[in-house]
Symmetry: C2
Subunit: 441 residues, 2 copies
């Protein structure tokens, strides 16, 4: 099978953590890909602002450039790997690569969460592919699973732990009984959290990922801005121990569901049963729970970040393009991007039961309790139970309500100085509901 | 995108549990596949010996036949789905389909575990595909993951819970403290185990699956006969509770590993840490833990059997072929099958630490203990600890040893009438060793 293979040239733009891993992996396995897959792909050129980093990867002389145009316009390059992140110049890199008839592999969730439809449309128009396995769940081949392995299903729900930083923080808060700020500072020191942790701890990174995954799973366009997003800053050690006492675990869940002909997309801290598969996902690991009408419940688990795990996903995309190219076959063209065919559920629609912890100024005496009760009633939020939490806290379990009502209510509790500090709102996730609509076997 | 699509005709041979689910799923989702994927696939004909079953699926008149030749030789049919299982006439069906230029989708692990190399070679020679996602792990898209999503990795290890019947039995023994025979009888009554449970409880079904998965993961041919295979008949409720007391769970693990340039393939009851992801896989669910040099640890979880879950995998294969066919593109030809390039490890090589429970005729007094110790020493099996188990049992933890030595030793213990009944041998699986050779991040 080797007589006719041609070498496919790959240009890598961005030689940081993931870019470095990608170059190393492609170099390390090149001979094995030849032997096992009858194909050849080589890193022809790398682009970085850091020449020393490139040199460490063996990219020197002609194989190195600090100007990405040198790669997108190089006629010998077949596949452009964009790993610089951010919106600009990543957008320009992709568009220029398409204009030069080159396929693009990207891990850029922030950009694709916003602009997937447009960029995939441009790729399709140019007759090339835009692949993004590494944009969601690091090394977990979840996009391929949704596009191919589960393609026969009417997908009903996705529930992902797709941000390693927040899962690391929550896992350590759980294991060590520490507070959010304390663990965040330590995570920053250890390199598990960035200096500006906003994208992670406020759920924006998870929102982009669930937008991309929901678009693919539900065959409709979901954008980052469609995702109702709440982070973990208000989660306390007390919330986590309360959950543990009630045989639950607190996770930052990114949920996409198809309900009543609409797509519900949300990122929220949530309590799930301790026996649920997702509850076992600890540390910086990621997992996506995916429910289809035929397959029922599935889960895909792996490292959500890191140099080599993410490179594993990038390289799987490179190989999917390079294999047919190297063997002289036509590369499948980019499928028509999904347009917005299903409406997106509003925050008002995302009803569920919630755990609400109100930190008080003093004791949870009868007066305070009835004032809080009155505020809940005023805002139409039913109370299932009300109890004293740890010292000076009131723990309320609500009946079915929407996060928007609860957020408004929290502002009121703060405004009236009933809440001494941030009110913690954690969904009590109805994990059984994810399988509603599945076939019986 | 719909102007040029042509209808791809699918013939389904075998309309039992999985065949019925496959027909139902393809019919149910046909319009959505058109809309979302720009392709059309329809069930053109079904073959069964049970005409009533076919009629229930709407396959009557010309759409029904009881002679599979009518399907393999029908010029209008593009894809033959073989779901009758067994070796014959499944082999003849595949060969005749290839001879007529038709692609084949099959769930036949028993046949493929033996004959994958030959059959895939015949498919390749005929310029068609042989796909078998449903042969391993039911609805879990694990074959696609190994062939594509993790293709960039040097795969180091697979460890699967790939037989739902045995996992159901072990889970219930664990949850309810019942014995093997009791749970097996109940599982048979409930339809979770077959009247002849041999293929499941003796590990043969799992052996065929790990042979197929190891072949794909390690790019070398592994056959069912290469797998060292031990079932769960000797596992007792006492073994499981001993494991639980030591913070472990007992699972029937199908392991494939690449060690020292050889492939180790084995099916054994094993104790794994209770906190390991695989330990959470309960009931009839399946999971495959897969470790690659780049991606590190991953796990794929889902229903291992059942009508619709297995149909999900069958249909994913049908769609992978029907999509390009329907859109007028060339279907990728079957890759060259992997030949046996790596030697297979022998049972002597599969050393590990073992838990051995010897049921005694009477008390575990000092005389009995020293006789047992002597027998172990005689056979070169080092003892790490020896303790009294439940009444009349001796529980021995060994040092590193091979299953072959232990099996010989057990025969001796039975022959010398030291063991009152079957000796239980359970590997204490070194799950950390699965990741040996992975890249550091």
């Amino acid at each position: 099978m080797c007589e006719q293979i041609r070498t496919v040239n790959v240009g890598v733009i961005g030689l940081g953590t993931v870019g470095g891993g990608t170059v190393r992996l492609l170099n390390k396995q090149r001979e094995e890909y030849k032997r096992a897959y009858g194909m050849d792909a080589r890193v022809a050129r790398g682009c970085s602002l850091d020449e020393a980093a490139a040199a460490e990867l063996g990219l020197t002389g002609d194989a190195f450039t600090s100007d990405w145009h040198d790669i997108t316009s190089d006629p010998s390059i077949d596949i452009v790997v964009e790993l610089i992140g951010g919106e600009h110049p990543a957008t320009e890199i992709m568009l220029d690569a398409f204009a030069h008839g080159k396929h693009v592999v990207s891990a850029n969730k922030a950009l694709l969460g916003k602009e997937m439809e447009r960029l995939a449309g441009e790729a399709r128009a140019a007759g090339v592919q835009l692949r993004c396995e590494a944009s969601c769940g690091g090394g977990i081949p979840i996009i391929d699973a949704l596009e191919r392995g589960l393609a026969g299903n009417d997908m009903l729900a996705l529930a992902g732990i797709v941000n390693g930083t927040t899962n690391y923080i929550l896992s350590r808060m759980d294991a060590e009984g520490l507070g959010f700020d304390e663990v965040l500072a330590d995570a920053q020191r250890l390199g598990y959290a960035e200096a500006d942790p906003t994208a992670d701890v406020d759920g924006l990174d998870a929102a982009a990922k669930i937008a991309i995954l929901s678009s693919i799973a539900f065959h409709t366009r979901v954008m980052s801005a469609d995702v109702d997003c709440q982070g973990i800053r208000a989660v306390s050690a007390g919330d986590i121990s309360w959950a543990r006492e009630h045989d639950m675990a607190v996770k930052l869940l990114a949920v996409g569901r198809k309900t009543n002909g609409r797509v519900e997309a949300r990122v929220q801290p949530a309590m799930i049963p301790a026996g649920h598969m997702l509850a076992s996902v600890n540390g910086a690991m990621n997992a996506v729970f995916a429910v289809g009408d035929a397959v029922g419940e599935t889960m895909f688990y792996g490292a959500g970040a890191g140099s080599f795990p993410t490179a594993s996903a990038v390289v799987s995309d490179v190989l999917a393009i390079a294999r047919p190219l190297s063997q002289g076959r036509v590369v499948e063209e980019e499928a028509e991007p999904y347009a917005k065919t299903l409406p997106v559920a509003t925050t008002e629609d995302m009803t569920g039961r919630y755990y609400v912890r109100v930190p008080l100024h003093g004791d949870a005496d009868a007066d305070v309790q009835s004032a809080v009760r009155a505020a809940f009633e005023e805002h139409g939020v039913g109370i299932e139970s009300i109890q004293q939490g740890s010292a000076g806290d009131l723990v309320i379990l609500t009946e079915q309500t929407s996060p928007s009502k609860l957020r408004l209510l929290c502002d009121v509790l703060r405004g009236r100085e009933m809440a001494a500090s941030a009110v913690s709102i954690i969904r009590i996730e109805d994990t059984a509901a994810w399988s509603e609509g599945a076939e019986k076997n």
